[in-house]
């Protein structure tokens, strides 16, 4: 092997460690070593983090034998996503390890957990289309195990929704990929630049990845799933796995290399609607997880809008990419922090202390875009992107952003209200939870300020008028929230939830039951047997008649005559 080859192999090996480590741990979980392995659970993220931090960029290695042509590598976008995911998974790993310490099914849960983790890391590092798809599917299906882990009826139902949508997404994605490969003739992601994206592919890709981010018609799984998933895992789901959808769009619709105005409209409209809808849906729920889910739908809607903006043309794409990434990082960190906060509530047997409350408020308001938070930076970046795009979009965003900010604020306050006085049962790992929460809060506060790409936007966001622009929606949101609380504190939220559940599930149940074959049908007597048994008496009779001498005589004569006739 040449040194270059050796190097490539080494690189490939190192990269595959990111997904490989969790997978190895999954396999070890099948062995009696499982207890020891589970103790090391958070360490599964370490290779990924190390790679994200240290591996050289823009090296692509081909692993020809792997799954119909494997390609992997790390680029800048990937590095950020990997870092982010690694961090979130690390925290989630600590959290779930301590949370589920006494759970009977912890091995099962953690196998799914690790598999989802592996999928998440793997898809970030994948540079081939099929590789991406592979890890994406791995992650999606493994996440099902996290969603339904509790095994309650609610969880199962949520899982069913999740699974249905995942399947739809998978299938859409499969179709999209096939068409892409057919048109481009290659499975290499970079080769899609020259492909003309027809409406079908766009829709398929939107559906395929949109499921993951809860884009509007495909959002159904998100709120129930966030509610039923064990919270650390939900944090990973909301903070990392959801991003896979965004990354998928980025990979398959390479912003900056394509222009696709029709797609842009699709994405922007869908995103905009989701941004509003998420808020409304979140406010409709009284369950903290579901509220966060609503928020995710909303925030992901905003991201979808950003992505849509980038789709207009190459130039817009170039501008949109960093904004998109900033927003993703911001949302992931904030959302996972909120989940960890929620986790804290659930684990301690008493209501939150003031300090804790304040700490939770930080990511909450960051989501709303309060100045001096990562939210502000993200919003600023958004706005500047809109400016770059030109008029109709700028106007729209000038109107739209504050509205969503107000909505998010209300939603976050609603969230705070939901968790403020709730007290969890005394679950293990309070200390761990606190540490995690602290770490995540620090993460929300710190990284975006320090990150080179965001510097610009950060300084812009604190500049004069921007500050004001950032504050008023939050303030307005607070106001509106309190008014809303006064008016309808006791709206029939639960009933509402119930109704929606019934609507969806009854359809599923009816269809399934319609298809179910009737139990214990009478064992079908064979038609052949019946037929023969009816015929038998006649046959016996006929044979008997043929055996009579008279008939024999007749046949004898007949045969003589016929043969004579025929032969003469």
């Amino acid at each position: 092997m040449t040194p270059a080859g050796l190097q490539t192999t080494m690189y490939a090996l190192i990269l595959s460690l990111a997904a490989g480590t969790p997978l190895m741990m999954v396999i070890l979980c099948c062995t009696p070593l499982r207890v020891r392995v589970l103790r090391l659970l958070p360490l599964a993220t370490v290779p990924a983090l190390l790679i994200a931090l240290t591996a050289p960029c823009d090296v692509v290695v081909e692993v020809g034998w792997f799954f119909m042509g494997g390609r992997m590598g790390l680029d800048e976008t990937g590095r950020i996503f990997l870092l982010l995911s690694g961090f979130v998974w690390l925290l989630a790993g600590f959290g779930s390890r301590s949370l589920l310490k006494d759970d009977n099914d912890q091995v099962r849960f953690h196998m799914f957990f690790l598999t989802a983790m592996a999928g998440n890391f793997g898809l970030i590092l994948a540079k081939g289309m099929l590789g991406y798809y592979l890890f994406f599917a791995m992650m999606s299906f493994a996440a099902y195990g996290l969603v339904v882990h509790k095994g309650s009826e609610e969880a199962i139902r949520a899982g069913r929704r999740y699974l249905l949508l995942v399947m739809i997404g998978e299938v859409a994605l499969f179709t999209a990929l096939i068409i892409l490969v057919h048109t481009s003739g290659s499975t290499v992601l970079e080769d899609f630049a020259g492909v003309s994206y027809g409406p079908l592919i766009l829709i398929l890709l939107f559906v395929g990845f949109g499921v993951k981010i809860g884009a509007l018609p495909l959002h159904g799984w998100m709120m129930p799933a966030y509610q039923t998933t064990p919270i650390p895992a939900a944090a990973a789901l909301a903070g990392s796995m959801v991003n896979a959808g965004i990354l998928g769009w980025l990979r398959f619709l390479p912003l900056g290399q394509i222009s696709c105005p029709k797609g842009a409209v699709l994405f922007i409209v869908a995103g905009g609607l989701a941004a509003v809808y998420g808020v409304v849906a979140g406010l409709n729920s009284k369950q903290a997880g579901a509220v966060l889910g609503g928020s995710s739908i909303s925030q992901m809607g905003l991201i979808t809008v950003i992505f849509g903006m980038g789709l207009f043309d190459q130039n817009a794409g170039l501008h949109a990419t960093p904004v998109l990434i900033i927003y993703v990082v911001h949302h992931s960190l904030a959302k996972s922090s909120l989940f960890f906060g929620y986790d804290l509530v659930e684990r301690q047997g008493k209501i939150l202390s003031q300090l804790q409350l304040a700490a939770i408020l930080l990511p909450a308001l960051a989501l709303a875009g309060l100045p001096f938070t990562s939210g502000a930076i993200a919003k600023t970046a958004f706005k500047e992107l809109a400016v770059n795009l030109g008029d109709p979009w700028y106007g729209l965003s000038a109107f739209f952003l504050p509205v969503t900010a107000i909505g998010t604020t209300i939603l976050m306050l609603h969230f705070m209200a939901v968790i403020r006085y709730s007290r969890g049962s005394d679950k293990p790992g309070r200390t761990v939870s606190r540490i995690i929460f602290a770490l995540s809060c620090v993460a929300v506060a710190v990284p975006l300020w320090l990150w080179p790409g965001a510097n610009n936007f950060a300084s812009h966001s604190v500049a004069g008028i921007k500050l004001l622009q950032g504050v008023w929606p939050v303030a307005g949101g607070c106001l509106l929230f309190f008014i809303w609380r006064r008016i309808s504190f006791t709206t029939k939220v639960e009933a509402n939830d119930q109704k929606r559940k019934i609507g969806f599930d009854t359809i599923m149940d009816t269809v399934t039951s319609l298809l179910q074959e009737k139990e214990h049908q009478k064992p079908q007597q064979d038609r052949l047997v019946i037929f023969i048994s009816r015929l038998v008496p006649h046959l016996r009779k006929a044979e008997k008649i043929m055996g009579r001498w008279k008939v024999v005589g007749l046949s004898y004569i007949a045969m003589c005559l016929i043969l004579l006739f025929l032969l003469l």
């Binding site: 016996r540 044979e543 001498w549 008279k550 024999v552 005589g553």
Partner: protein, 111 residues
């Protein structure tokens, strides 16, 4: 030639009569007799075949030999058939010598 034909036709008619009886009458003994009549008919034709009017040449001995063989065969079969009929009569209700109707047809066995 006429003689030959006359005998031959008589033989044929015997054959037909025998056959008719064989089929119509159900009694074993009659059947055996009927078959014998049929045989006689055939032998008659055969012998008639050998007939050559006097002075027109040698008599063909081959049909004679054939008839002889046929008769022997017929005797053997008749003997066997009679014994069989007796056995059948012994083991079932069919009467060998009296009555003809009730033994309408020999029952199909098995089935």
């Amino acid at each position: 030639m006429i003689t030959t034909l006359l005998y031959s036709l008589t033989g044929l008619i015997l054959f037909g009569m025998g056959f008719f009886t064989l089929i119509i009458h159900s009694h074993p003994l009659r059947k055996i007799l009927a078959v014998n009549v049929m045989g006689t008919g055939v032998f008659l034709i055969l012998v008639a075949t050998a007939y050559i009017p006097l002075g027109q040449g040698e008599i063909d001995p081959v049909p004679h030999a054939m008839v002889l063989t046929g008769i022997v065969v017929s005797v053997s079969v008749t003997a066997l058939a009679l014994i069989l009929a007796c056995r059948v009569q012994e083991t079932s209700n069919i009467t060998l010598l009296k009555g003809t109707k009730q033994s309408e047809d020999i029952k199909e066995t098995g089935a």
